[in-house]
């Protein structure tokens, strides 16, 4: 899978440099907020891609792992004063455990069946958290405004630290995805995506690798959840575990190009700003115009660019070469 030729690496670093410089140049904190959302959804897209794009497990319940990550770290820091960075890891493990609990029974489900099962699973998690008094049920949890510091993973004077942390998280998940894609696991995931039969004949323990796919994906999604909790300082089931968020994550990966490393990042870079800015310019008239355009955009893209934008670039790239 040696598609990383030299020009691509240079382009990658150039973009990275631009991203690092961006917040210093643009002063409006709203644009930084949008970029943070882009990074967060890109990370969620990459996490989904490991499971959906590579292993062919189309999960429509990613928000459940995101929510579990957010709730675990928040609850630990509120009730037991656990440092959010430890909460981050705890949240990841909790989400991975829950992922295994649901992954195992659904290990033989494929395609649509798996998608619907993941929706049902995520709805159960949302309903349970919605009624679980210990974690604030429907009222949600608000994190106390402790003193600002990197150790507490809390900054309220400016968004810059959040921006760079989220960028770092995204790079970590891209590294994990790259490592998986080019390693034994990546090959086995793609064999499983093709068909369980072929994978089994080649000696792949399908159940184990599917579990690995869903657990890694859950861990990374939970990390993004913890970041969200530390960034927004208030979480409730309605904002971190909704089916609409899971769908947006799937759209991002599909629009960008499922099954490619950079696909979800491109998808997030297009979809998140589009929905944020259309909401500002058209949203406040209350005619739902922005969502109308959003829905139309999704339908047209899945009709005309089903493999996603990234594959489009690489196909053009291949033609030029």
């Amino acid at each position: 899978m040696r598609d990383f030729t030299i020009p691509k690496i240079i382009a990658g670093f150039a973009i990275l440099l631009l991203l690092i410089v961006f917040p210093m140049v643009v002063s409006h904190s709203f644009h930084i907020h949008v970029m943070i959302l882009v990074f967060m959804f890109a990370m969620l897209g990459v996490a989904w891609n490991i499971m959906g794009g590579y292993a062919g497990m189309f999960s429509f319940g990613q928000a459940a792992f995101f929510g579990i990550g957010a709730y675990t770290s928040s609850y630990l820091s509120i009730a037991y004063g656990v440092n959010p960075w430890i909460g981050l890891v705890a949240g990841g493990c909790a989400a991975a455990l829950v992922a295994a609990a649901i992954g195992y029974p659904c290990s033989n489900l494929r395609g649509h069946y798996f998608a619907i099962a993941s929706i049902a699973f995520a709805e159960i998690v949302r309903i349970v958290f919605n009624n679980w008094k210990m974690v604030g049920a429907a009222e949600g949890l608000s994190l106390p405004m402790q003193n600002e510091s990197f150790a507490n993973f809390l900054f309220n004077s400016s968004k810059l630290p959040y921006y760079y942390i989220m960028l770092a998280f995204l790079l970590v998940s891209l590294a994990v995805c790259y490592f998986i894609a080019t390693s034994k696991m990546g090959y086995y995931f793609r064999a499983i995506r093709e068909s369980h039969k072929i994978a089994e004949v080649l000696g792949v323990d399908v159940v184990w690798y599917r579990l690995m796919a869903i657990m890694i994906s859950a861990f990374l999604s939970a990390m993004a959840g913890t970041f969200y909790a530390q960034y927004i300082l208030y979480i409730d089931p309605g904002s971190v575990m909704l089916l609409a968020m899971s769908i947006q994550i799937v759209l991002i990966s599909m629009l960008g190009g499922a099954g490619s490393i950079m696909g979800p990042v491109i998808g997030a870079a297009i979809l998140v700003p589009a929905s944020e800015y259309t909401r500002i310019t058209l949203g406040f008239k209350g005619t739902g115009m922005d969502m109308l355009i959003y829905g139309l955009l999704i339908t047209l893209i899945s009709m005309y660019y089903p493999e996603g934008v990234w594959k489009l670039f690489s196909r053009i790239g291949r033609k030029l070469r």
Binding site: F58, L109, I124, I127, G288, G295
Partner: protein
């Protein structure tokens, strides 16, 4: 206490049959084209609005507007298939899943744009009031809806099993290539099934509008539950969807009454997951 049990069973059956009516259309589309129609909830909403406008503008009672709903939604379903869904059939599975999501967001917000997000409810129509049968109160519109559901299921069952086109649909459902070899124009079958599927859920919408409030986002939860009913019943099987609908309705009311109302839908989804774990192809699927 016992009459409450009867009441819950009755209402469970009534809401269950409504789920069946919604699910039959979905299972047809899913079975024939192996496409999950995530816009099914929005089709339901369109059916409700159609019967609402037919009543408020032309004074046609929802019961009489059902055939009109059927035809209108049938045509809409065919159009949607031809211009949108057919383009995605050959694409990757992910695109098939996502295109109907885009459609559902588009349709819901089109309704918001034209009919404002306000809540509407049909004033008491010809069918209203409740029957008191031995301590059990049955609301007449719900009973009518259940009858409609039974009739629709029976008609669909015989249509598929007895008529020529019905058999063609079943053949396409089982093996598309074989059906092609047998000279079945699968493209026509696809648009036909999409049309019938949309029409059926349009009829469900017409019945539902007699006792439930109408607003653009009403399709959401009904749609999600319909997916579980279809997957529980087994894809493409009308009888499966019918039985699974009733099971889900009963699980919801009894679970809510005896266990805890706020976990109502969690129970429904849990039953679905357990069944799928034991029998991945659902109750009646192959």
């Amino acid at each position: 206490m016992p009459d409450q049990l009867l009441q819950q069973l009755a209402d469970g059956l009534l809401i269950g049959l409504m789920y069946s009516l919604i699910a039959i259309g979905l299972t047809l589309i899913w079975g024939v084209m192996n496409i999950v129609n995530f816009a099914h909830g929005e089709f339901l909403m369109l059916g409700m609005f159609t019967s609402f406008w037919l009543f408020t503008l032309y004074g046609i009672d929802p019961i009489f507007s059902i055939p009109i709903c059927f035809v209108l939604m049938f045509v809409m379903g065919m159009l949607i298939y031809r211009f949108i869904v057919s383009k995605v059939m050959k694409g990757p599975m992910l695109a098939q899943l996502v295109v109907t999501f885009g459609l559902s967001i588009f349709i819901a917000n089109l309704a918001v744009y034209f009919w404002t997000p306000d809540f509407r409810l049909l004033p008491p129509t010809m069918l209203q009031g409740t029957w008191q049968i031995g301590g059990v109160a049955l609301s007449i519109p719900k009973v009518a809806a259940s009858l409609g559901s039974v009739i629709a299921s029976v008609c669909m069952f015989f249509f598929l099993k007895r008529t020529k086109t019905g058999k063609a649909i079943l053949a396409t459902e089982m093996d598309r290539e074989a059906a092609l070899l047998m000279g079945i124009n699968t493209e026509r079958i696809n648009s036909l099934s999409f049309g019938i599927g949309a029409a059926l859920v349009g009829v469900a919408g017409a019945f539902l509008s007699t006792y439930y409030y109408i607003y653009p986002q009403v399709g959401g939860l009904f749609g999600t539950i319909a997916f579980c009913v279809v997957a529980l019943g087994g894809f493409g099987s009308i009888e499966g969807a019918f039985i699974a609908g009733i099971l889900v309705g009963l699980a919801q009311t009894l679970g809510g009454f005896y266990f805890d109302p706020s976990y109502k839908y969690a129970i429904v989804f849990m039953i679905y997951l357990i069944t799928i774990w034991i029998r991945p192809q659902g109750l009646m699927g192959w």
